[in-house]
Structure formats: structure tokens, C-alpha cells
């Protein structure tokens, strides 16, 4: 039997999550965690290669099913996962790290992170939409434990809110999934009903539009809560700011994309229903509300991590608008933007965590002169900040440009202009916050909490930064092919 990389991808993080509980000593625990994340990345690369050659990577009966769209998700998850684990080792893993954990805590932390990766990989690999739901609810349960990892009052508050809101949302999503199942049962007539995406996509043209419309309402409220669509985003800034920094990076860069991915799968189904545009309107509506609301909050936000969290709401909105504009250009922009935002936001969270450690505060008003005090971190923050604000030549500019152009091309002038206005506000807001923290006079004593050992941090950011910068200049051929194929998966 050939080696099924799709299965390996699930086994590696699961096995390592077990292993970190038993291996002796800190270094071994850290090493196993890194091995788990690195092993996952290798498995994903093997899967991507298979998808590029054969179109899909599956197991018998299509229980696990990876096409180009899921391959993109797996790729971004595994890269961000590895970066986050490498950073964790520096940040939490060693004795003398700024937030050093005791050995039992460290074991639990790494185990949860690896299980979190496992559930997110399962989201990407599930063919059955019911299994996808189970995996997404699984991400909530594990990541709630990570958000509340510090046991502080604020982190308990944030994780409880997160758990309750997202679980309630997901109950609605389960209901929506059921309605989709009903649509499939009604369309296929008899016992052939299935929740397998590969089966749904075949009979989608026969679905009852009224039923699917109702299903979409529930699915958007459910998965939209998890994706961080405004006004369902209220859990997001709390969870992102109270979680340990490497977890914030995983939440923002990885988890939100998983929820958007679920909605993209549903979108693919509705795109095969003739004359059905309801999903388009939902994507555009939630997208517009998200970018506008996020823009306002970004202007007034002083806490570094909350600022980044509202940027997540903004970028999820941009992705959603891209999907709503649709067409090859809009979808390409949206899926490309998922990758770019993941890399940029993860890099920013990690560098921001470093800044917060050095300055001993997350309050941007109290920080100044970071570029001279901690030049390496400061430079990453500058590049990341400019990239996040949509400045050329960085990758986010490239995908935003595609999305805006697709809007004008599709004739959605109003939404495209709203998007441009929101982007301008965000640009101003971000520059305002960053200039004072990065430039400005350096504190006379220097920063109080500069870290000594940063190998893992350097590796983590070294993994992400080339994507932030490079993908805006040059899209490597395999990735371009993968993205084009992903668009074709959605459009049919």
C-alpha cells in the first residue's frame, strides 16, 4: 500500500501531541513539538506535490480529500504552525524565556498546539461537510484551552466568551449543514443522499434554491462567527489579545482561514446552481460591514495585540468581498489574500510579541523608538506594518489590487469604492500607530526586557518574511498553478 500523505498529516501532530507528554526534559519536549510541526510541513509539501501532479490527494472512498483549494489551506496552516512552534520554544519553552512555563505546563501547551494543528488539518482534509463541522468545533474546544492558558482573569474571560460564542455559532452551522443535507436528499431522490462535498458538487444544479438560501443563513452566521465577520466578531479581539502570542498568530493566521475555507466550499456548491446569487450578497454584505467596522476600531485602538486583531477582522472582510466579487480574478485575489494575510499577520504577531516583551507593555502609547532600540524586530514590524497597510510591493498589496480590480471589472462600483475608502482609513490608522512606536526617541535606558536567545524567533520570522515580501514581487510557478487550480475548484 502506498504511503498516504493525507493520513500521515493527521498522524504526525496527533502522535507528537502524545509524545510531548512522555519524553523527559524540556529540550526533548521542545524538540518533539518542533518535529511535529516540521513533519506536518513535510507531509503537506508531499500532498501539494501530489495535488499538482494528479489534481487531488485522497484516501479510499474519498474520506479524506485534498484538492488544490484545500492544499492552499494546508500549506498556509503548516507554515504558520511551524513558525508558531519555533517561536513558542523561545518564548515559553526554555528556562529564562520571557513567559517561561513549568515543565508540566509546557507539555500541556505543546500538546494543545499540536492537537489544534491536527483539528485544523482535518478541516482542510475532510470531504464530508459533517466531518468538516466536527473538525471546526474541535478547533474551538482545543483553542479555547490555549486562549485561557495563562489562567489570568482576563484570559479566562476571553476564553469563556470565545467558547460560548463560537459554539453557539457552530450549532447554527450544524443546522445549516443539515439543511444542505436535506437539499441533497431532496435532489437525489432516494437513499443516495450524502454530505460528501464531491457528491454535493455533482447534484448541486438540482438543489432547491429556497432550501439552500435558508441553509446559507445558518452557515454564514455559524462559520461567520468563527471567521470573525463583523458584527459577529466580538470574541475575536479578546481571544487574540489574551492568548499567548504564538497562539494569537495561529488563531489569526490559521483558524480564521479555516472558517473562511468552509464558506468557500459552500460557495463552490452554490456557484453550480444556475442563477443563484444569494451567497454573493452574503459575502459582500458581511465583507463591507467587517472592513468598515474594523477601520473605525483600528483608528482608536492603542493595544498592540488588539490592533492586530481588528486588522484580522478587516482582512477577513477583504477576503469575503473578494469572494463576493467572484469570477476568476476576484477568487484568485481572495485565495491569494488568505495566504498573504496569514504570513504577514503571523510575522507581525510574533514580532509584536517580541516588542511587547522588550518594552514590557502592549500599549502603543508607551512605546517609542523601537526601530533604534531593537533594530531587527523593529525592521520586521516596519515591513510587516507597511505590508499590512497595503503598501506596494508587498504581497498584500498584490492580492488587494486583484480584489479591487475584480470589483470594478464585475461592475460592483459601490462596494469597490467602499473597500478603497476603508483601506485608506486603515492605512492612515496603522501609520499613525506605528510611526510613534517605531520612530520617535528611544527611551534613555533602552528597552527594559530585551531577550538574549532568539534563534527560534529568527527562524520563525525568517520562514514568514520572504512570503510577506517575495510573493508581492514574484509568484513561484507551483504556487501560481495551485492558486489557479484552487479557483477552478471553486468555480467548476
Amino acid at each position: 500500500m502506498p504511503l498516504e500523505w493525507t493520513v500521515v498529516l493527521l498522524l504526525v501532530p496527533a502522535a507528537c501531541a502524545g509524545l510531548v507528554e512522555v519524553v523527559p526534559g524540556r529540550s526533548a519536549v521542545n524538540a518533539v513539538a518542533i518535529a511535529g510541526a516540521l513533519g506536518s510541513l513535510i507531509a503537506v509539501l508531499a500532498i501539494v506535490q501530489q495535488v499538482l501532479l494528479q489534481g487531488t490527494a485522497t484516501t479510499p472512498m474519498d474520506a479524506l480529500y485534498v484538492d488544490a483549494l484545500s492544499a492552499v489551506l494546508l500549506l498556509l496552516l503548516s507554515v504558520v504552525g511551524l513558525a508558531s512552534v519555533l517561536y513558542s520554544v523561545d518564548y515559553l519553552g526554555r528556562e529564562g524565556s520571557p513567559h517561561s512555563l513549568s515543565l508540566p505546563q509546557l507539555r500541556r501547551y505543546h500538546a494543545f498546539v499540536l492537537l489544534f494543528l491536527f483539528t485544523m488539518f482535518l478541516v482542510g482534509e475532510a470531504n464530508n461537510l459533517g466531518l468538516l463541522w466536527i473538525a471546526l468545533e474541535g478547533t474551538t474546544l482545543v483553542s479555547a484551552l490555549l486562549v485561557g492558558f495563562y489562567h489570568t482573569r482576563k484570559s479566562i474571560e476571553a476564553s469563556w466568551k470565545y467558547l460560548v460564542l463560537c459554539t453557539v455559532g457552530l450549532v447554527f452551522a450544524l443546522f445549516g449543514t443539515l439543511l444542505l443535507y436535506l437539499a441533497s436528499a431532496t435532489a437525489s431522490g432516494s437513499a443516495g443522499a450524502s454530505l460528501d462535498w464531491t457528491a454535493l458538487i455533482q447534484i448541486a444544479p438540482k438543489f432547491d434554491p429556497g432550501l439552500v438560501r435558508l441553509a446559507l443563513v445558518f452557515l454564514f452566521v455559524g462559520y461567520g462567527t468563527k471567521a470573525g465577520f463583523a458584527p459577529l466578531h466580538t470574541w475575536l479581539p479578546d481571544a487574540h489579545s489574551e492568548a499567548p502570542t504564538p497562539v494569537s498568530a495561529l488563531l489569526s493566521a490559521g483558524l480564521l482561514k479555516c472558517a473562511i475555507y468552509a464558506l468557500l466550499r459552500v460557495d463552490a456548491i452554490t456557484l453550480r446552481m444556475p442563477g443563484f446569487t444569494f451567497a454573493t450578497w452574503l459575502f459582500l454584505g458581511f465583507g463591507v460591514v467587517s472592513v468598515l467596522l474594523a477601520a473605525l476600531f483600528i483608528l482608536v485602538q492603542r493595544d498592540l495585540k488588539r490592533l492586530l486583531a481588528y486588522h484580522s477582522v478587516e482582512h477577513i472582510g477583504i477576503i469575503s468581498i473578494g469572494i463576493g466579487f467572484g469570477g476568476p480574478l476576484g477568487l484568485f485575489g481572495a485565495i491569494f489574500h488568505m495566504v498573504n494575510h496569514a504570513a504577514t499577520k503571523a510575522a507581525l504577531f510574533l514580532a509584536g510579541g517580541d516588542l511587547a516583551v522588550a518594552a514590557r507593555t502592549k500599549d502603543l502609547d508607551e512605546i517609542s523608538g523601537a526601530l533604534t532600540a531593537i533594530p531587527a524586530t523593529g525592521t520586521v514590524l516596519l515591513i510587516g506594518g507597511l505590508a499590512l497597510a497595503g503598501v506596494p510591493p508587498f504581497s498584500i498589496f498584490a492580492s488587494e489590487f486583484l480584489i479591487v480590480s475584480s470589483g470594478f471589472q464585475a461592475g460592483d462600483w459601490v462596494v469597490a469604492v467602499i473597500l478603497l475608502v476603508a483601506l485608506a482609513i486603515v492605512f492612515g490608522g496603522l501609520l499613525l500607530h506605528l510611526t510613534s512606536a517605531l520612530f520617535g526617541p528611544k527611551p534613555r535606558q533602552g528597552f527594559p526586557g530585551i531577550r538574549a536567545r532568539v534563534v527560534g524567533t529568527a527562524l520563525a520570522i525568517g520562514l514568514l518574511l520572504p512570503l510577506v515580501v517575495g510573493l508581492g514581487l514574484l509568484l513561484p510557478n507551483p504556487l501560481a498553478t495551485l492558486l489557479h487550480d484552487a479557483v477552478r475548484v471553486v468555480m467548476g
Binding site: G130, G138, H151, L163, V171, L178, A185, L195, V300
Partner: protein
């Protein structure tokens, strides 16, 4: 025989609806948990009846699983947690009993309005259960948002899940045993994680009113 089965189905469905409604207006937490257990057992009975009436044998298994987990294990966990943490036995309601009763009625009307037109579409004969299932989902949602105690919020979510389970039975004979198992596993983990958080909340805040969770804004 079949008409007897249908009658039993209707009785069990009424039990599901009535337990949701009583739990909504009842002030005692323990009683609410027991009502949840009764509701879950009624759902297990419905599962068995649908299995019998529509020859879907796997639903016997689903029903047994549901009875064990939602009818026994989860209520037991909840009652234990309440005793461990010495949560005061009275529900702390943001909305009065009368208001809650009216809200329950509102849920029913809303459910009929939303999914009423759907029913004739269904390929599955037991689809008449659909409005009841949506009512239960909405009642669960109302409990989650209108109670101050974190404990009640968990209970509300569990009631919502019960509603979705009924919808699954009504619409599609359930989602299949494997998926039901997965959902059940998730529910169990949810209960365990919630218990953990309730303990932490008790330790940190010395209160389990979700009201104390108000420091993060903006």
C-alpha cells in the same frame, strides 16, 4: 401498528417541546438539568421510533448512544459540577419568568414562520418534527443569552444541540452513525472543557456569573 408508532412519536415530540418550555421558566438549576435529561431520553425514544417506522436500523444505535450520553452522562457531569462548585441552586435570570414564558412562545412562532413552509418539501415523512426542533434550538439560544450564570449558558448550548439532533432525525434520519459519534465526542469534550473553565472562574473570580466577565471592551 404504524399509527400507534406515529402517535408515540407525537407524544415523545411533545415531551421534547414541553421540557424545553418548563426548563425555560423553572428557577432551579438541578430541575433544569433533569428536564434536559428527560428531553434527551425522549429524543432517544424518537430516534428508536424513527428507526422502527422508517426501517432505519442504525438509528437504534444512535438513539442508544444519545440516551447514554445526553440522557445520563452529561446531566450527571452537570449536577456534579454544580455540587462541586457550590453553585447556588437558583437560576439567575436577566429576564423574568413571565418574560421567559413569552419568549418561549415567541420562539415557537418564529420557528413555525421560518421552517413551516419548508415542511412539505421534505423527502422524509417525519418532517413534521422540524418546527419543534427549531423551537428547541431557539429556546436553548434564549437560555444562553438571558442567564447570568456561566453554568446556564452551557445548559443552553446543550439544549440547542438537542434541537439540532431532532432536526437531524426529522429531516434526514440523522447524519449517520459515524458523524453522530463525532458530534457526541465533541459534546463530551465541550462538557469537560466547560467544567474546567467553571473551576478556573470560581478560583479567579469567586463568582460564576458571566457578569463578572466584563473587563474586556472595545
Amino acid at each position: 401498528m404504524t399509527s400507534d408508532g406515529l402517535l408515540l412519536l407525537e407524544i415523545a415530540a411533545s415531551v421534547v417541546l414541553v421540557t424545553a418550555w418548563i426548563a425555560l421558566v423553572h428557577r432551579r438549576l438541578d430541575a433544569q438539568v433533569r428536564l434536559y435529561a428527560i428531553q434527551s431520553l425522549a429524543l432517544a425514544v424518537i430516534s428508536g421510533l424513527v428507526a422502527y417506522l422508517y426501517s432505519a436500523p442504525l438509528l437504534y444505535l444512535t438513539g442508544a448512544l444519545f440516551a447514554a450520553l445526553n440522557g445520563a452522562l452529561l446531566p450527571w457531569i452537570l449536577l456534579t459540577v454544580r455540587r462541586e462548585l457550590r453553585i447556588p441552586p437558583e437560576a439567575n435570570m436577566l429576564v423574568s419568568v413571565r418574560g421567559s414564558a413569552l419568549a418561549g412562545l415567541g420562539c415557537l412562532l418564529l420557528a413555525v414562520a421560518v421552517v413551516g413552509p419548508l415542511t412539505p418539501l421534505a423527502a422524509v415523512p417525519a418532517a413534521g418534527l422540524l418546527p419543534i426542533s427549531v423551537t428547541v434550538v431557539l429556546v436553548g439560544l434564549f437560555v444562553t443569552v438571558s442567564r447570568r450564570k456561566a453554568f446556564s449558558q452551557v445548559l443552553g448550548i446543550l439544549v440547542m444541540e438537542n434541537g439540532v439532533f431532532l432536526a437531524g432525525l426529522a429531516l434526514t434520519y440523522g447524519l449517520g452513525i459515524l458523524l453522530e459519534l463525532g458530534i457526541a465526542a465533541n459534546l463530551l469534550v465541550l462538557a469537560i472543557v466547560s467544567r474546567l473553565f467553571l473551576h478556573r472562574m470560581k478560583d479567579s473570580f469567586d463568582s460564576l456569573d458571566a457578569d463578572v466577565l466584563r473587563s474586556l471592551e472595545g
